[in-house]
Symmetry: C2
Subunit: 288 residues, 2 copies
Amino acid sequence: MKKIGFIGVGVMGKSMVRNLMKAGYELSVYTRTKEKVADIIEEGALWCDTIADCVKDREAVITMVGYPEDVWEVYFGGAGIIANARPGTYVIDMTTTSPKLSVEIYERAREAGIYAVDAPVSGGDVGARHGTLSIMAGGDEEAFEACLELFKSMGKTIIYEGKAGNGQHTKAANQIALGGVIAGVCEAITYARAAGLDVQTMLDSISQGAAGSWQMDNMAPRLLKGDYDPGFFIKHYIKDMKIALEESDARKLTLPILMEVLDMYKKLDEEGMGDMGTQALIKYYEEQ
Amino acid sequence: MKKIGFIGVGVMGKSMVRNLMKAGYELSVYTRTKEKVADIIEEGALWCDTIADCVKDREAVITMVGYPEDVWEVYFGGAGIIANARPGTYVIDMTTTSPKLSVEIYERAREAGIYAVDAPVSGGDVGARHGTLSIMAGGDEEAFEACLELFKSMGKTIIYEGKAGNGQHTKAANQIALGGVIAGVCEAITYARAAGLDVQTMLDSISQGAAGSWQMDNMAPRLLKGDYDPGFFIKHYIKDMKIALEESDARKLTLPILMEVLDMYKKLDEEGMGDMGTQALIKYYEEQ
Protein backbone atom coordinates (compact mmCIF):
# COMPACT_ATOMS: atom_id res chain seq x y z
CA MET A 1 0.00 0.00 0.00
CA LYS A 2 1.23 3.41 -0.92
CA LYS A 3 -1.59 5.74 -1.94
CA ILE A 4 -3.92 6.74 0.86
CA GLY A 5 -7.00 8.97 0.87
CA PHE A 6 -7.82 10.78 4.11
CA ILE A 7 -11.26 12.29 4.64
CA GLY A 8 -11.96 14.61 7.57
CA VAL A 9 -8.83 16.33 8.71
CA GLY A 10 -9.42 17.89 12.13
CA VAL A 11 -6.95 18.32 14.98
CA MET A 12 -6.28 14.61 15.29
CA GLY A 13 -6.61 13.83 11.59
CA LYS A 14 -3.91 16.34 10.75
CA SER A 15 -1.37 14.70 13.03
CA MET A 16 -2.31 11.30 11.63
CA VAL A 17 -1.82 12.55 8.05
CA ARG A 18 1.61 13.89 9.00
CA ASN A 19 2.64 10.57 10.54
CA LEU A 20 1.46 8.70 7.46
CA MET A 21 3.47 10.99 5.17
CA LYS A 22 6.49 10.60 7.44
CA ALA A 23 6.16 6.83 6.97
CA GLY A 24 6.33 7.31 3.21
CA TYR A 25 2.69 7.13 2.17
CA GLU A 26 1.24 9.40 -0.53
CA LEU A 27 -1.71 11.25 0.91
CA SER A 28 -4.69 12.84 -0.78
CA VAL A 29 -6.97 14.72 1.57
CA TYR A 30 -10.52 16.00 1.62
CA THR A 31 -12.12 18.01 4.37
CA ARG A 32 -14.93 20.54 4.60
CA THR A 33 -12.81 23.67 4.91
CA LYS A 34 -9.75 23.75 2.67
CA GLU A 35 -8.08 26.62 4.53
CA LYS A 36 -7.78 24.49 7.63
CA VAL A 37 -5.43 22.06 5.87
CA ALA A 38 -3.27 24.61 4.04
CA ASP A 39 -0.31 23.58 6.18
CA ILE A 40 -0.38 19.90 5.33
CA ILE A 41 -0.96 20.65 1.64
CA GLU A 42 2.17 22.77 1.91
CA GLU A 43 3.87 19.75 3.44
CA GLY A 44 2.97 17.52 0.52
CA ALA A 45 -0.60 16.24 0.88
CA LEU A 46 -2.65 16.42 -2.31
CA TRP A 47 -5.85 18.45 -2.02
CA CYS A 48 -9.06 16.98 -3.48
CA ASP A 49 -12.20 19.01 -4.18
CA THR A 50 -14.54 16.04 -3.80
CA ILE A 51 -14.72 12.76 -1.96
CA ALA A 52 -14.79 11.00 -5.32
CA ASP A 53 -11.42 12.54 -6.17
CA CYS A 54 -9.99 11.65 -2.78
CA VAL A 55 -11.02 8.02 -3.15
CA LYS A 56 -10.09 7.51 -6.81
CA ASP A 57 -7.10 5.21 -7.37
CA ARG A 58 -6.38 4.92 -3.66
CA GLU A 59 -5.52 1.59 -2.06
CA ALA A 60 -6.89 2.66 1.30
CA VAL A 61 -9.19 5.44 2.46
CA ILE A 62 -9.24 6.60 6.06
CA THR A 63 -12.15 8.58 7.50
CA MET A 64 -11.90 10.65 10.66
CA VAL A 65 -14.96 12.86 10.81
CA GLY A 66 -17.21 14.08 13.62
CA TYR A 67 -20.59 12.55 14.27
CA PRO A 68 -22.35 9.39 13.04
CA GLU A 69 -24.38 11.56 10.60
CA ASP A 70 -21.11 12.75 9.07
CA VAL A 71 -19.81 9.21 8.78
CA TRP A 72 -23.05 8.14 7.10
CA GLU A 73 -22.82 11.02 4.65
CA VAL A 74 -19.21 10.44 3.57
CA TYR A 75 -19.81 6.72 3.05
CA PHE A 76 -23.35 6.62 1.65
CA GLY A 77 -24.14 10.17 0.52
CA GLY A 78 -24.67 10.95 -3.17
CA ALA A 79 -20.97 11.40 -3.92
CA GLY A 80 -19.72 9.15 -1.14
CA ILE A 81 -16.99 6.58 -0.66
CA ILE A 82 -18.93 3.40 -1.38
CA ALA A 83 -20.14 4.72 -4.73
CA ASN A 84 -16.68 5.91 -5.74
CA ALA A 85 -14.03 3.58 -4.34
CA ARG A 86 -12.90 0.88 -6.70
CA PRO A 87 -13.30 -2.76 -5.67
CA GLY A 88 -10.42 -4.01 -3.54
CA THR A 89 -10.01 -0.70 -1.68
CA TYR A 90 -9.65 -0.80 2.11
CA VAL A 91 -11.90 1.74 3.81
CA ILE A 92 -11.03 2.43 7.43
CA ASP A 93 -13.33 4.49 9.63
CA MET A 94 -11.30 5.78 12.57
CA THR A 95 -14.10 8.04 13.82
CA THR A 96 -15.66 6.97 17.10
CA THR A 97 -19.12 6.12 15.89
CA SER A 98 -21.98 3.68 16.29
CA PRO A 99 -21.12 -0.05 16.03
CA LYS A 100 -24.35 -0.51 14.09
CA LEU A 101 -23.18 2.00 11.52
CA SER A 102 -19.81 0.21 11.27
CA VAL A 103 -21.64 -3.03 10.52
CA GLU A 104 -23.75 -1.27 7.89
CA ILE A 105 -20.62 0.15 6.24
CA TYR A 106 -19.00 -3.28 6.35
CA GLU A 107 -21.98 -4.93 4.67
CA ARG A 108 -22.55 -2.34 1.98
CA ALA A 109 -18.81 -2.19 1.31
CA ARG A 110 -18.67 -5.95 0.89
CA GLU A 111 -21.45 -5.83 -1.69
CA ALA A 112 -19.28 -3.39 -3.64
CA GLY A 113 -16.16 -5.57 -3.28
CA ILE A 114 -14.62 -3.12 -0.79
CA TYR A 115 -12.99 -4.12 2.54
CA ALA A 116 -14.18 -2.12 5.55
CA VAL A 117 -12.46 -1.90 8.93
CA ASP A 118 -13.76 0.06 11.93
CA ALA A 119 -10.76 1.34 13.84
CA PRO A 120 -11.54 4.02 16.42
CA VAL A 121 -8.65 5.31 18.48
CA SER A 122 -7.85 6.60 21.91
CA GLY A 123 -4.96 8.73 23.04
CA GLY A 124 -6.27 12.15 22.03
CA ASP A 125 -4.39 14.95 20.34
CA VAL A 126 -1.13 14.04 22.07
CA GLY A 127 -1.30 10.39 21.01
CA ALA A 128 -2.13 11.41 17.44
CA ARG A 129 0.85 13.78 17.33
CA HIS A 130 3.33 11.30 18.74
CA GLY A 131 1.97 8.35 16.75
CA THR A 132 1.15 6.51 19.96
CA LEU A 133 -2.60 6.09 19.55
CA SER A 134 -4.39 2.97 20.71
CA ILE A 135 -6.22 1.52 17.73
CA MET A 136 -9.14 -0.87 18.26
CA ALA A 137 -10.01 -2.61 15.02
CA GLY A 138 -13.03 -4.63 13.90
CA GLY A 139 -13.73 -6.34 10.57
CA ASP A 140 -12.29 -9.32 8.69
CA GLU A 141 -8.94 -10.38 10.10
CA GLU A 142 -7.34 -10.43 6.62
CA ALA A 143 -8.37 -6.83 6.09
CA PHE A 144 -6.97 -5.89 9.50
CA GLU A 145 -3.66 -7.57 8.64
CA ALA A 146 -3.53 -5.74 5.33
CA CYS A 147 -3.92 -2.41 7.15
CA LEU A 148 -1.53 -3.17 10.00
CA GLU A 149 1.48 -1.33 8.55
CA LEU A 150 -0.71 1.70 8.02
CA PHE A 151 -1.91 1.54 11.64
CA LYS A 152 1.65 1.21 12.89
CA SER A 153 2.56 4.61 11.51
CA MET A 154 -0.21 6.19 13.64
CA GLY A 155 -0.47 4.07 16.75
CA LYS A 156 1.31 1.92 19.30
CA THR A 157 -1.24 -0.43 20.85
CA ILE A 158 -3.00 -1.91 17.83
CA ILE A 159 -5.42 -4.68 18.61
CA TYR A 160 -7.77 -6.77 16.49
CA GLU A 161 -11.05 -7.00 18.37
CA GLY A 162 -12.99 -9.33 16.07
CA LYS A 163 -15.79 -8.83 13.62
CA ALA A 164 -17.09 -5.58 12.14
CA GLY A 165 -18.30 -3.22 14.86
CA ASN A 166 -16.07 -4.69 17.55
CA GLY A 167 -13.57 -1.86 17.24
CA GLN A 168 -16.42 0.51 18.05
CA HIS A 169 -17.72 -1.68 20.86
CA THR A 170 -14.25 -1.70 22.44
CA LYS A 171 -14.07 2.07 22.19
CA ALA A 172 -17.53 2.31 23.76
CA ALA A 173 -16.32 0.17 26.68
CA ASN A 174 -13.37 2.56 27.03
CA GLN A 175 -15.68 5.57 27.13
CA ILE A 176 -17.89 3.87 29.73
CA ALA A 177 -14.95 3.14 32.06
CA LEU A 178 -13.69 6.68 31.54
CA GLY A 179 -16.84 8.34 32.89
CA GLY A 180 -16.64 6.73 36.30
CA VAL A 181 -12.98 7.63 36.63
CA ILE A 182 -13.39 11.30 35.71
CA ALA A 183 -16.45 11.76 37.93
CA GLY A 184 -14.76 9.96 40.82
CA VAL A 185 -11.71 12.23 40.59
CA CYS A 186 -13.92 15.34 40.41
CA GLU A 187 -15.95 14.23 43.44
CA ALA A 188 -12.78 13.52 45.43
CA ILE A 189 -11.46 17.00 44.59
CA THR A 190 -14.81 18.60 45.42
CA TYR A 191 -14.88 16.82 48.77
CA ALA A 192 -11.25 17.70 49.55
CA ARG A 193 -11.84 21.39 48.84
CA ALA A 194 -14.95 21.49 51.02
CA ALA A 195 -13.11 19.68 53.82
CA GLY A 196 -10.33 22.26 53.68
CA LEU A 197 -7.59 19.90 52.50
CA ASP A 198 -4.73 20.93 50.30
CA VAL A 199 -5.94 19.26 47.12
CA GLN A 200 -2.51 18.62 45.63
CA THR A 201 -1.32 16.99 48.85
CA MET A 202 -4.45 14.83 48.87
CA LEU A 203 -3.81 13.74 45.28
CA ASP A 204 -0.14 13.01 46.00
CA SER A 205 -1.29 10.86 48.92
CA ILE A 206 -3.73 8.71 46.97
CA SER A 207 -2.63 8.71 43.31
CA GLN A 208 -0.26 5.75 43.57
CA GLY A 209 -2.78 3.57 45.42
CA ALA A 210 -5.98 1.68 44.74
CA ALA A 211 -7.88 4.83 43.68
CA GLY A 212 -5.19 5.87 41.20
CA SER A 213 -5.84 6.36 37.49
CA TRP A 214 -4.51 7.93 34.32
CA GLN A 215 -7.11 10.67 34.75
CA MET A 216 -5.91 11.45 38.27
CA ASP A 217 -2.31 11.70 37.05
CA ASN A 218 -2.97 13.60 33.83
CA MET A 219 -6.28 15.41 34.00
CA ALA A 220 -6.41 16.54 37.62
CA PRO A 221 -3.27 18.74 37.35
CA ARG A 222 -4.80 20.64 34.39
CA LEU A 223 -8.07 21.06 36.22
CA LEU A 224 -6.33 22.39 39.33
CA LYS A 225 -4.58 25.03 37.20
CA GLY A 226 -7.98 26.09 35.83
CA ASP A 227 -6.92 24.83 32.40
CA TYR A 228 -10.05 23.64 30.58
CA ASP A 229 -8.55 23.46 27.08
CA PRO A 230 -9.75 20.39 25.26
CA GLY A 231 -7.52 17.35 25.13
CA PHE A 232 -10.86 15.72 24.53
CA PHE A 233 -13.97 17.84 23.82
CA ILE A 234 -17.03 17.54 26.05
CA LYS A 235 -19.27 17.63 22.95
CA HIS A 236 -17.47 14.62 21.49
CA TYR A 237 -17.59 12.72 24.73
CA ILE A 238 -21.35 13.30 24.88
CA LYS A 239 -21.64 11.84 21.38
CA ASP A 240 -19.63 8.77 22.45
CA MET A 241 -21.65 8.24 25.62
CA LYS A 242 -24.91 8.51 23.69
CA ILE A 243 -23.71 5.75 21.39
CA ALA A 244 -22.73 3.60 24.38
CA LEU A 245 -26.09 4.23 26.01
CA GLU A 246 -28.01 3.41 22.83
CA GLU A 247 -26.12 0.13 22.47
CA SER A 248 -26.65 -0.64 26.17
CA ASP A 249 -30.36 0.05 25.91
CA ALA A 250 -30.59 -2.24 22.90
CA ARG A 251 -29.15 -5.00 25.13
CA LYS A 252 -31.42 -4.12 28.08
CA LEU A 253 -28.42 -3.14 30.21
CA THR A 254 -28.74 -0.51 32.90
CA LEU A 255 -25.47 1.33 33.48
CA PRO A 256 -26.24 3.94 36.15
CA ILE A 257 -22.82 5.57 36.21
CA LEU A 258 -22.78 6.04 32.45
CA MET A 259 -26.24 7.63 32.61
CA GLU A 260 -25.31 9.88 35.50
CA VAL A 261 -22.09 11.11 33.88
CA LEU A 262 -23.84 11.70 30.56
CA ASP A 263 -26.47 13.83 32.31
CA MET A 264 -23.79 15.92 34.00
CA TYR A 265 -21.97 16.61 30.74
CA LYS A 266 -25.23 17.38 28.94
CA LYS A 267 -25.93 20.02 31.56
CA LEU A 268 -22.50 21.59 30.96
CA ASP A 269 -23.06 21.44 27.21
CA GLU A 270 -26.42 23.22 27.58
CA GLU A 271 -24.57 25.92 29.47
CA GLY A 272 -22.22 26.38 26.51
CA MET A 273 -19.21 24.35 27.65
CA GLY A 274 -19.25 21.74 24.87
CA ASP A 275 -15.96 23.01 23.47
CA MET A 276 -14.13 22.64 26.77
CA GLY A 277 -12.10 19.57 27.72
CA THR A 278 -13.66 16.76 29.74
CA GLN A 279 -11.80 17.90 32.88
CA ALA A 280 -14.31 20.79 33.05
CA LEU A 281 -16.68 18.31 34.71
CA ILE A 282 -15.42 19.89 37.93
CA LYS A 283 -17.59 22.89 37.01
CA TYR A 284 -20.68 20.74 37.43
CA TYR A 285 -19.70 20.36 41.07
CA GLU A 286 -18.54 23.95 41.52
CA GLU A 287 -21.96 25.19 40.46
CA GLN A 288 -23.71 23.45 43.35
CA MET B 1 10.14 5.25 71.05
CA LYS B 2 10.38 1.58 71.79
CA LYS B 3 7.29 0.25 73.56
CA ILE B 4 4.14 0.18 71.48
CA GLY B 5 0.62 -0.92 72.31
CA PHE B 6 -1.53 -2.24 69.48
CA ILE B 7 -5.29 -2.52 69.88
CA GLY B 8 -7.40 -4.37 67.32
CA VAL B 9 -5.38 -6.99 65.53
CA GLY B 10 -7.29 -8.11 62.43
CA VAL B 11 -5.88 -9.21 59.08
CA MET B 12 -4.15 -5.89 58.45
CA GLY B 13 -3.28 -5.20 62.08
CA LYS B 14 -1.43 -8.49 62.33
CA SER B 15 0.87 -7.68 59.43
CA MET B 16 1.46 -4.22 60.86
CA VAL B 17 2.39 -5.71 64.26
CA ARG B 18 4.84 -8.06 62.55
CA ASN B 19 6.47 -5.20 60.65
CA LEU B 20 6.78 -3.16 63.86
CA MET B 21 8.44 -6.08 65.67
CA LYS B 22 10.75 -6.61 62.72
CA ALA B 23 11.79 -2.96 63.07
CA GLY B 24 12.73 -3.61 66.70
CA TYR B 25 9.72 -2.30 68.61
CA GLU B 26 8.34 -4.08 71.66
CA LEU B 27 4.68 -4.80 71.10
CA SER B 28 1.87 -5.40 73.53
CA VAL B 29 -1.41 -6.34 71.90
CA TYR B 30 -5.08 -6.41 72.79
CA THR B 31 -7.87 -7.66 70.62
CA ARG B 32 -11.33 -9.12 71.18
CA THR B 33 -10.48 -12.76 70.50
CA LYS B 34 -7.16 -13.92 71.94
CA GLU B 35 -7.01 -17.12 69.84
CA LYS B 36 -6.82 -15.06 66.67
CA VAL B 37 -3.47 -13.59 67.69
CA ALA B 38 -1.86 -16.79 69.04
CA ASP B 39 0.65 -16.70 66.18
CA ILE B 40 1.98 -13.22 66.86
CA ILE B 41 2.14 -13.91 70.61
CA GLU B 42 4.24 -16.93 69.68
CA GLU B 43 6.39 -14.55 67.63
CA GLY B 44 6.99 -12.29 70.60
CA ALA B 45 4.10 -9.89 71.07
CA LEU B 46 2.94 -9.52 74.65
CA TRP B 47 -0.72 -10.37 75.25
CA CYS B 48 -2.78 -8.00 77.42
CA ASP B 49 -6.14 -8.92 78.95
CA THR B 50 -7.40 -5.35 79.03
CA ILE B 51 -6.96 -2.11 77.14
CA ALA B 52 -5.62 -0.56 80.35
CA ASP B 53 -2.82 -3.14 80.40
CA CYS B 54 -2.09 -2.64 76.73
CA VAL B 55 -1.74 1.11 77.19
CA LYS B 56 0.20 1.16 80.46
CA ASP B 57 3.81 2.31 80.15
CA ARG B 58 3.63 2.51 76.39
CA GLU B 59 5.11 5.43 74.47
CA ALA B 60 2.66 5.01 71.61
CA VAL B 61 -0.63 3.19 71.19
CA ILE B 62 -1.95 2.25 67.76
CA THR B 63 -5.60 1.38 67.17
CA MET B 64 -6.83 -0.52 64.13
CA VAL B 65 -10.38 -1.59 64.84
CA GLY B 66 -13.55 -1.91 62.75
CA TYR B 67 -16.27 0.69 62.89
CA PRO B 68 -16.53 4.19 64.38
CA GLU B 69 -18.49 2.70 67.33
CA ASP B 70 -15.51 0.44 68.05
CA VAL B 71 -13.10 3.35 67.86
CA TRP B 72 -15.28 5.36 70.22
CA GLU B 73 -15.42 2.44 72.67
CA VAL B 74 -11.66 1.77 72.80
CA TYR B 75 -10.87 5.46 73.30
CA PHE B 76 -13.72 6.66 75.50
CA GLY B 77 -15.31 3.51 76.93
CA GLY B 78 -15.17 2.77 80.67
CA ALA B 79 -11.74 1.15 80.53
CA GLY B 80 -10.54 2.97 77.43
CA ILE B 81 -7.33 4.52 76.18
CA ILE B 82 -7.89 8.12 77.21
CA ALA B 83 -8.59 7.14 80.82
CA ASN B 84 -5.58 4.85 81.00
CA ALA B 85 -2.74 6.23 78.89
CA ARG B 86 -0.23 8.33 80.77
CA PRO B 87 0.32 11.95 79.70
CA GLY B 88 2.81 12.25 76.87
CA THR B 89 1.65 9.08 75.11
CA TYR B 90 1.08 9.21 71.36
CA VAL B 91 -2.23 7.62 70.38
CA ILE B 92 -2.57 6.83 66.70
CA ASP B 93 -5.88 5.72 65.22
CA MET B 94 -5.19 3.96 61.93
CA THR B 95 -8.78 2.80 61.51
CA THR B 96 -10.67 4.46 58.68
CA THR B 97 -13.25 6.36 60.67
CA SER B 98 -15.15 9.61 60.88
CA PRO B 99 -13.09 12.83 60.76
CA LYS B 100 -15.40 14.24 63.42
CA LEU B 101 -14.52 11.38 65.73
CA SER B 102 -10.82 11.96 65.06
CA VAL B 103 -11.23 15.59 66.09
CA GLU B 104 -13.07 14.50 69.24
CA ILE B 105 -10.27 12.07 70.12
CA TYR B 106 -7.70 14.79 69.47
CA GLU B 107 -9.47 17.24 71.76
CA ARG B 108 -10.16 14.88 74.62
CA ALA B 109 -6.63 13.48 74.35
CA ARG B 110 -5.18 16.98 74.55
CA GLU B 111 -7.10 17.68 77.74
CA ALA B 112 -5.43 14.58 79.18
CA GLY B 113 -1.98 15.62 77.98
CA ILE B 114 -1.99 12.91 75.29
CA TYR B 115 -1.01 13.45 71.63
CA ALA B 116 -3.50 12.09 69.09
CA VAL B 117 -2.83 11.45 65.41
CA ASP B 118 -5.40 10.14 62.91
CA ALA B 119 -3.55 8.04 60.37
CA PRO B 120 -5.79 5.86 58.19
CA VAL B 121 -4.07 3.80 55.54
CA SER B 122 -4.62 2.46 52.06
CA GLY B 123 -2.95 -0.45 50.34
CA GLY B 124 -4.99 -3.28 51.82
CA ASP B 125 -3.79 -6.64 53.12
CA VAL B 126 -0.95 -6.75 50.59
CA GLY B 127 0.36 -3.30 51.50
CA ALA B 128 0.16 -4.14 55.20
CA ARG B 129 2.12 -7.37 54.67
CA HIS B 130 4.84 -5.76 52.59
CA GLY B 131 5.06 -2.62 54.72
CA THR B 132 4.10 -0.49 51.73
CA LEU B 133 0.93 1.13 53.03
CA SER B 134 0.03 4.70 52.22
CA ILE B 135 -0.44 6.55 55.49
CA MET B 136 -2.46 9.79 55.59
CA ALA B 137 -1.88 11.58 58.86
CA GLY B 138 -3.69 14.42 60.62
CA GLY B 139 -2.94 16.14 63.93
CA ASP B 140 -0.20 18.39 65.26
CA GLU B 141 2.85 18.37 63.03
CA GLU B 142 5.19 17.75 65.99
CA ALA B 143 3.20 14.67 66.92
CA PHE B 144 3.34 13.47 63.30
CA GLU B 145 7.12 13.93 63.26
CA ALA B 146 7.45 12.03 66.52
CA CYS B 147 5.56 9.08 64.98
CA LEU B 148 7.29 9.13 61.60
CA GLU B 149 9.80 6.35 62.35
CA LEU B 150 6.93 4.19 63.52
CA PHE B 151 5.00 4.87 60.33
CA LYS B 152 8.05 4.07 58.22
CA SER B 153 8.10 0.51 59.48
CA MET B 154 4.54 0.02 58.17
CA GLY B 155 4.23 2.22 55.13
CA LYS B 156 5.91 3.79 52.13
CA THR B 157 3.96 6.90 51.14
CA ILE B 158 3.59 8.75 54.43
CA ILE B 159 2.08 12.19 54.16
CA TYR B 160 1.15 14.84 56.70
CA GLU B 161 -2.24 16.20 55.69
CA GLY B 162 -2.65 18.93 58.29
CA LYS B 163 -4.77 19.30 61.39
CA ALA B 164 -6.65 16.59 63.29
CA GLY B 165 -9.21 14.86 61.06
CA ASN B 166 -7.35 15.65 57.85
CA GLY B 167 -5.93 12.14 57.65
CA GLN B 168 -9.50 10.85 57.68
CA HIS B 169 -10.66 13.47 55.18
CA THR B 170 -7.89 12.42 52.79
CA LYS B 171 -8.88 8.79 53.15
CA ALA B 172 -12.51 9.77 52.50
CA ALA B 173 -11.44 11.52 49.28
CA ASN B 174 -9.61 8.32 48.31
CA GLN B 175 -12.72 6.23 48.93
CA ILE B 176 -14.83 8.66 46.89
CA ALA B 177 -12.50 8.50 43.88
CA LEU B 178 -12.38 4.71 44.21
CA GLY B 179 -16.13 4.23 43.77
CA GLY B 180 -16.27 5.84 40.35
CA VAL B 181 -13.30 3.81 39.15
CA ILE B 182 -14.65 0.44 40.29
CA ALA B 183 -18.13 1.10 38.94
CA GLY B 184 -16.73 2.37 35.63
CA VAL B 185 -14.64 -0.77 35.19
CA CYS B 186 -17.62 -3.00 36.05
CA GLU B 187 -19.86 -1.15 33.59
CA ALA B 188 -17.25 -1.45 30.83
CA ILE B 189 -16.97 -5.20 31.45
CA THR B 190 -20.76 -5.58 31.56
CA TYR B 191 -21.06 -3.74 28.26
CA ALA B 192 -18.24 -5.72 26.64
CA ARG B 193 -19.80 -9.04 27.63
CA ALA B 194 -23.21 -8.03 26.29
CA ALA B 195 -21.65 -6.80 23.03
CA GLY B 196 -19.91 -10.15 22.59
CA LEU B 197 -16.36 -8.86 22.96
CA ASP B 198 -13.53 -10.88 24.42
CA VAL B 199 -13.29 -9.03 27.73
CA GLN B 200 -9.59 -9.61 28.30
CA THR B 201 -8.78 -8.32 24.80
CA MET B 202 -10.93 -5.26 25.48
CA LEU B 203 -9.10 -4.59 28.75
CA ASP B 204 -5.69 -5.07 27.10
CA SER B 205 -6.77 -2.54 24.47
CA ILE B 206 -7.80 0.20 26.87
CA SER B 207 -5.89 -0.31 30.14
CA GLN B 208 -2.83 1.73 29.17
CA GLY B 209 -4.87 4.68 27.92
CA ALA B 210 -7.01 7.48 29.30
CA ALA B 211 -9.49 5.08 30.94
CA GLY B 212 -6.77 3.12 32.71
CA SER B 213 -6.60 2.71 36.47
CA TRP B 214 -5.11 0.65 39.28
CA GLN B 215 -8.48 -1.07 39.62
CA MET B 216 -8.53 -2.04 35.95
CA ASP B 217 -5.03 -3.49 36.25
CA ASN B 218 -5.43 -5.22 39.61
CA MET B 219 -9.10 -5.84 40.36
CA ALA B 220 -10.48 -6.70 36.91
CA PRO B 221 -8.27 -9.81 36.50
CA ARG B 222 -9.54 -11.24 39.82
CA LEU B 223 -13.11 -10.48 38.89
CA LEU B 224 -12.73 -12.19 35.50
CA LYS B 225 -11.47 -15.34 37.23
CA GLY B 226 -14.57 -15.28 39.45
CA ASP B 227 -12.33 -14.58 42.45
CA TYR B 228 -14.35 -12.53 44.95
CA ASP B 229 -12.04 -12.99 47.94
CA PRO B 230 -11.69 -9.78 49.87
CA GLY B 231 -8.63 -7.65 49.32
CA PHE B 232 -11.01 -5.03 50.67
CA PHE B 233 -14.35 -6.07 52.23
CA ILE B 234 -17.60 -4.69 50.81
CA LYS B 235 -18.89 -4.17 54.38
CA HIS B 236 -15.90 -1.98 55.22
CA TYR B 237 -16.20 0.00 52.02
CA ILE B 238 -19.86 0.68 52.84
CA LYS B 239 -18.78 2.01 56.22
CA ASP B 240 -16.21 4.28 54.57
CA MET B 241 -18.66 5.58 51.98
CA LYS B 242 -21.25 6.31 54.66
CA ILE B 243 -18.68 8.43 56.48
CA ALA B 244 -17.82 10.27 53.25
CA LEU B 245 -21.50 10.84 52.54
CA GLU B 246 -22.19 12.11 56.06
CA GLU B 247 -19.31 14.57 55.79
CA SER B 248 -20.46 15.64 52.32
CA ASP B 249 -24.01 16.18 53.52
CA ALA B 250 -22.73 18.29 56.40
CA ARG B 251 -21.07 20.52 53.76
CA LYS B 252 -24.15 20.55 51.51
CA LEU B 253 -22.27 18.75 48.75
CA THR B 254 -24.09 16.47 46.33
CA LEU B 255 -21.84 13.70 45.04
CA PRO B 256 -24.08 11.61 42.76
CA ILE B 257 -21.50 8.94 41.91
CA LEU B 258 -20.68 8.33 45.56
CA MET B 259 -24.40 7.97 46.34
CA GLU B 260 -25.02 5.66 43.41
CA VAL B 261 -22.07 3.38 44.23
CA LEU B 262 -23.02 3.26 47.90
CA ASP B 263 -26.56 2.18 46.95
CA MET B 264 -25.21 -0.60 44.73
CA TYR B 265 -22.98 -1.98 47.46
CA LYS B 266 -25.76 -1.73 50.05
CA LYS B 267 -27.91 -3.90 47.81
CA LEU B 268 -25.14 -6.51 47.59
CA ASP B 269 -24.66 -6.35 51.36
CA GLU B 270 -28.38 -6.92 51.90
CA GLU B 271 -28.05 -9.99 49.72
CA GLY B 272 -25.35 -11.31 52.03
CA MET B 273 -22.22 -10.33 50.09
CA GLY B 274 -20.70 -7.97 52.68
CA ASP B 275 -17.77 -10.32 53.26
CA MET B 276 -16.79 -10.40 49.61
CA GLY B 277 -14.19 -8.14 48.05
CA THR B 278 -15.19 -4.89 46.36
CA GLN B 279 -14.65 -6.44 42.90
CA ALA B 280 -17.92 -8.33 43.50
CA LEU B 281 -19.69 -5.14 42.38
CA ILE B 282 -19.86 -6.92 39.03
CA LYS B 283 -22.59 -9.08 40.58
CA TYR B 284 -24.81 -6.03 40.84
CA TYR B 285 -24.68 -5.83 37.07
CA GLU B 286 -24.92 -9.56 36.49
CA GLU B 287 -28.19 -9.67 38.42
CA GLN B 288 -29.92 -7.33 35.98
